[in-house]
Point group: C2
């Protein structure tokens, strides 16, 4: 365990998108400086961070300089090249750790890990060839879904199989990328738990939120989620179990399917998570501050929920409807992106929610 970082220390953040932006603001609030590593120029995080290293992930010299200039390193996305991590880790601690990153970077590793903890996942089979694909369909059946093991996000790198006839087309669409075939899970809804773990092993989880997706992208998260008390407690215990097993430091997003037979783990994200944005207006300490506290070796904050909230993502030109966004009961969080491309996350709003 490292000593707590002093006030004025610098957090290095890999990635300059909206998650990096909100992490940088949280760090500023805590009197900590931030240095972003991001190849892109006018990126959301650069508007509010103290420093911006604009370089590629294969630029060993820039990575080493970046690492030398910060006190600890964290990240806003999980697809960081291993070669970059090797260089960075030689200089400074990285939180969450390599194992957490490696586990969540690969769907096969992730599901195997979850099963080793006795946690329920969708049935799955590895697919790296035509033969694997045939065997997988025979084992898992249809309907099912083929997903690339790495680099998938927001529904990208996925193909649905309605019947076994779809197998060949689905596998071709992966262009030889190692994949997993996931069996159909008959779930009523999806929830996620945002958990945090400090360097001393203390764990604190936010209240589970209920997620609704549109076109494969998160649309809303509502708290409280529809869960029985037992499910709510299970959800939090699963998150704590995973973080403790991984000796995790920081905030983790955990997606769960709610089924009549119990909770099924869908996915781990080793970072702050879109489905935790409601915490900015629902809790004393939000997921971004919680992550920075953990990474800095500070004690976790109180994440108890004080309000019922619906978080809604603003996608593409949603953001142009200012009159609809800037309403009284709505806290606004925009990312400073100038170009509202279709499907692009431009911001989100947190609305106070009165139970019907």
């Amino acid at each position: 365990m490292n000593d707590p970082l002093p006030i004025g220390a610098t957090i290095g953040i890999l990635g300059g998108g909206q998650l990096g932006r909100m992490l940088a603001v949280a760090a500023a609030r805590l009197g900590l400086k931030t240095c972003i590593f991001e190849p892109g120029g006018d990126c959301p995080a650069s508007h509010v961070a103290n420093y911006h290293f604009q370089a590629d992930y294969d630029d060993a010299e820039a990575l080493a300089k970046f690492a030398a200039s910060v006190d600890v390193i964290t990240y806003e996305f999980e697809n960081i090249p291993t070669s970059a991590l090797d260089i960075l880790e030689a200089h400074k601690p990285i939180h969450p750790n390599r194992r957490a990153l490696a586990t969540s970077q690969d769907r096969l590793t992730e599901k195997t890990f979850l099963q080793s903890l006795g946690l329920a996942t969708a049935p799955f089979a590895n697919v790296e060839s035509d033969d694997d694909m045939q065997a997988a369909v025979a084992e898992i059946g249809t309907p099912s879904i083929l997903k690339t093991r790495r680099f998938g996000y927001d529904g990208k790198g996925q193909a649905r199989l309605k019947a076994s006839d779809d197998a060949a087309t689905a596998w071709q669409s992966m262009q030889d990328a190692a994949s997993v075939l996931e069996g159909f899970v008959d779930f009523s809804h999806e929830v996620s738990v945002i958990g945090a773990r400090a360097q001393d092993g203390a764990v604190s989880c936010f209240d589970p939120g209920e997620n609704i997706h549109r076109d494969g992208i998160l649309h809303t998260t509502t708290v409280p989620a529809r869960l029985t008390p037992a499910q709510r407690s299970d959800a939090v215990l699963i998150a704590a179990r995973i973080m403790t097993e991984l000796d995790y430091v920081g905030v983790m997003g955990l997606e769960l399917f709610v089924t009549p037979g119990g909770l099924i783990v869908n996915e781990i994200a080793p970072r702050v998570h879109n489905s935790g944005h409601w915490t900015q207006n629902g809790c004393l300490i939000d997921q971004f501050e919680q992550h920075i506290r953990a990474v800095a070796g500070w004690p976790l904050g109180n994440g108890a929920r004080h309000s019922d909230i619906v978080m809604e993502n603003l996608i593409g030109n949603d953001v142009e409807q200012l009159a609809q966004i800037a309403q009284s009961d709505t806290a606004i969080h925009l990312y400073g992106k100038s170009d509202a491309k279709p499907g692009r996350k431009m911001g989100h709003i947190n609305r106070i929610y009165t139970k019907p």
Copy 2:
């Protein structure tokens, strides 16, 4: 009334201290850019703002360039030279307006204005000479307090009179600065109301907070304040009355003394206010977002209070006690100042408060 600023527009902020810093973060959250005008270099607001004009208030060229580069101008402190305002206002709208600024810049103008609205103030008399001083003491009596009419803050520029013998010394300490002698008010405690007024005239006030000072500097603000329902309603109505009369746009801080005979207005601050920092963790929309919304011509947000909070200022080396600051029930707001001089505001904490 101006059209609402579009997302991506730039707010110019005069002053680069902690209030400017927190305004800049609120603006970033709303997808607006900020440009700070501040003579100092490594100032708190510059860490999070998009742009920083580092120039003096008598640099006409820099002021004009600054005004040309922004869409609207606001400020974090009231002592802006009139000559600077003349240059700025020729280019872009300034909120709150000149009258609000002029009224609050001078204690005599302020008290005269308040009386014209039928609001109660401490008894006062103008002092610009030895003769004025003698007449003032004869009229107001002692105990009383002599305050410079302009440029006073955090207890600076004040001298107490216990008896009429103190008059000459008190007046000498003002070094010929025009002053007012204020009579003693027998108040039980001080509260403040943070009000906001939008460009369309809509008014929204935060719940009054109760202030405790130490060494002339705000120490804590606690919500809810000890007030009867009638006093609470009076406090909010007084704030609304003042803002409407001044055709005010933005957030205003209003300090009130609570006496057995009713509320007495102490002071107006035409800006976000230290005693409103609790709103960052007590409300969906805080005073900083409320101010930016108003200045941008957007509708005000919902400032209803969801939690009981104690805000505590961190002064001088208070900020070095990280273990005492970074507790679970404490939201931390530090200003990024590197030099913890005695009496300097370094940050504040908002603590969840459970009524005894």
